[in-house]
């Protein structure tokens, strides 16, 4: 299912730092940081040279505690934050020849609108709270160039239906909804134009257990039906176990372990991973 082919997304040596850096932390190889933090200049190295590949149709899980850099990684990938260093290539964009981090803002918008979608942990980042839910889902379709109201409304209704927003409420604004419902609207929005790559940041955090199962189900189904490649970030190994084909474990801005999810669950190598797996059992 993977490995033999070209990855759909390839990230090389991505660095994201907050702060200017100093002579102490100039060379990240030398391990002079306290966790991901330089005690001299207070620079935080949220991502310290991350490299990974995403293959067509797979779900890649990233698991780690809060502060491990997994969410920053997602935001950088979706251009919400500028990377400090590094490159990334998407097969569907300029035949995988162009470093997406170096594109101009117009091209980055294009990639956001056409090739990727993101579901944020905080629904306020992903939704216009005072617009109708159906409008929120349509926005993504509009952004990718759709100008057909009837298609957009039926597509939006279908998706809102799928995430269990009752039909009579789809014209309501998300600000009237519960946190869980807002999250489901966001998922519907992200899925609306079948992006080849979907980014999910702590997507089920805050949902009821029953809803959580539904959503996870939905994600699984979408992935199976449409072959969308996904990166899912979670602190919850249970979620990762349920969804991810492959898993990356992050700690203090670094990848400490990666492999097939089953493998990692059965035979964790790094002490931190072992601890994670044990707590799951």
């Amino acid at each position: 299912m993977y490995c033999t082919e070209e990855p759909i997304l390839k990230v090389n040596n991505m660095v994201k730092q907050f702060g200017t850096g100093c002579s102490n932390c100039f060379n990240l190889e030398e391990e002079r940081l306290e966790k991901n933090y330089c005690p001299c200049c207070q620079t935080v190295y949220a991502c310290q040279g991350l490299s990974l590949e995403l293959y067509e149709g797979e779900i890649l899980g990233i698991v780690g505690e809060s502060g491990s850099g997994k969410s920053t990684f997602m935001r950088c990938l979706y251009f919400d934050q500028e990377v400090t260093k590094g490159s990334a290539y998407i097969r569907a964009y300029k035949k995988g020849q162009a470093n997406i981090f170096e594109q101009n803002s117009q091209q980055k918008r294009y990639i956001r609108n056409q090739i990727m979608a993101m579901v944020y942990q905080n629904p306020y980042l992903g939704l216009r709270m005072n617009f109708s839910s159906i409008g929120n889902v349509a926005e993504k379709l509009i952004a990718s160039g759709n100008r057909e109201v009837s298609y957009m409304t039926s597509r939006a209704s279908e998706l809102l239906n799928k995430v269990k927003i009752p039909s009579y409420r789809i014209r309501e604004a998300p600000q009237n909804f519960s946190g869980g419902m807002q999250q489901r609207v966001q998922i519907a929005k992200a899925l609306s134009n079948n992006p080849p790559i979907l980014l999910l940041d702590e997507v089920t955090t805050g949902l009821d257990l029953s809803v959580q199962a539904n959503v996870l189900d939905l994600i699984k189904r979408i992935q199976r039906e449409l072959k969308i490649s996904m990166i899912i970030v979670s602190h919850d190994l249970a979620v990762i176990r349920m969804l991810a084909d492959r898993t990356i474990v992050m700690l203090n801005g670094k990848i400490i372990e990666q492999g097939l999810t089953d493998q990692i669950l059965e035979d964790p190598q790094h002490p931190y991973t072992q601890q994670l797996v044990h707590s799951l059992l």
Partner: protein, 279 residues
């Protein structure tokens, strides 16, 4: 008594407006910032249009000024008076005779020619202002051609009212690139922007922007495929003076009977028809 320069401005001021204007023509629909001089008429009363007109005018020009479709509206008369005082050039009320037409909120009914220039006064040039108050951000949205928000606004109108509910100033897409405010012209006039034979210049004095639609340029009113753009509906109505139909009308109420009746909004067009009738 101090004598004013021809067309009010010193030559340096004209030069700056002209430099902005040529850039505006070169990038259709893009709002070129300019310094915008302070004028003897109030900001918001057509200073952008007036600055353009004064920077264009020469001794051989014949100028027409209209406000709300009417040559005799007080504001139009006032601007015309000022232009006349500062240049001494000829004025006209006939659309066909004019070389430069400055207008607020209307495009004349008579089709403009290639040798004419239409100058439109603009109060708020930023089509995205309704969805984004910050200039810093709207500039970036234009740069990225990111117009989802304004489309979404129209989509939301359809969700609520089953149709787009814009009044005047319905946004347009120019040369497939920039979303532009056509100034508060009625939707009825939007189609006159598309492939116009005359150059159209738009000036916003207070907001300090100049933009342009060159002749024969694609101008599409924003609309969805299945919810087409609709102009104001005057079907079945005729002008009570000249009998014209299919033009933009003013709606009037008879003081005695309380009945509604209609009259051409373009007063010069109406008068021209009446005079033809008379001959």
């Amino acid at each position: 008594m101090k004598a004013y320069n021809f067309a009010f401005f010193d030559e340096g001021s004209k030069r700056e407006i002209r430099r902005a204007t040529v850039k505006a023509i070169s990038i259709p629909g893009y709002q070129v910032p300019f310094a915008s001089r302070e004028m003897p008429i109030a900001r918001g009363w057509g200073t952008g249009g007036l600055q353009l007109t004064l920077s264009l005018l020469g001794q051989d020009d014949i100028v027409k000024v209209i406000d709300q479709g009417c040559d005799e509206s007080v504001n139009a008369v006032n601007i015309k008076k000022f232009i006349n005082k500062m240049t001494g050039i000829r004025e006209t009320e006939q659309t066909a005779t004019a070389t430069i037409i400055q207008s607020r909120h209307r495009i004349p009914e008579v089709e403009l020619r290639a040798d004419q220039i239409l100058v439109l006064q603009v109060p708020i040039p930023e089509p995205l202002r309704e969805v984004e108050p910050s200039e810093y951000i709207t500039q970036r949205l234009h740069a990225d051609q990111e117009y989802s928000a304004i489309w979404l606004m129209l989509f939301e109108q359809i969700m609520k009212h089953n149709k787009m509910t814009t009044g005047a100033d319905h946004p347009v897409l120019v040369h497939q690139r920039y979303v532009m405010s056509p100034s508060p012209i009625p939707r009825y006039d939007n189609c006159k922007l598309h492939n116009s034979k005359a150059l159209i210049l738009l000036g916003a004095g207070r907001e300090k922007k100049i933009y342009a639609i060159p002749p024969y340029t694609t101008v599409q009113s924003l609309a969805f495929n299945d919810y087409p753009f609709q102009t104001e509906d005057f079907s079945g109505r005729t002008c009570h003076l000249c009998g014209a139909s299919a033009v933009y009308f003013d709606e009037l109420i008879d003081e005695e009977s309380g009945h509604k009746y209609y009259q051409c909004n373009d007063s010069s067009y109406c008068l021209q028809r009446l005079n033809q009738e008379l001959l």
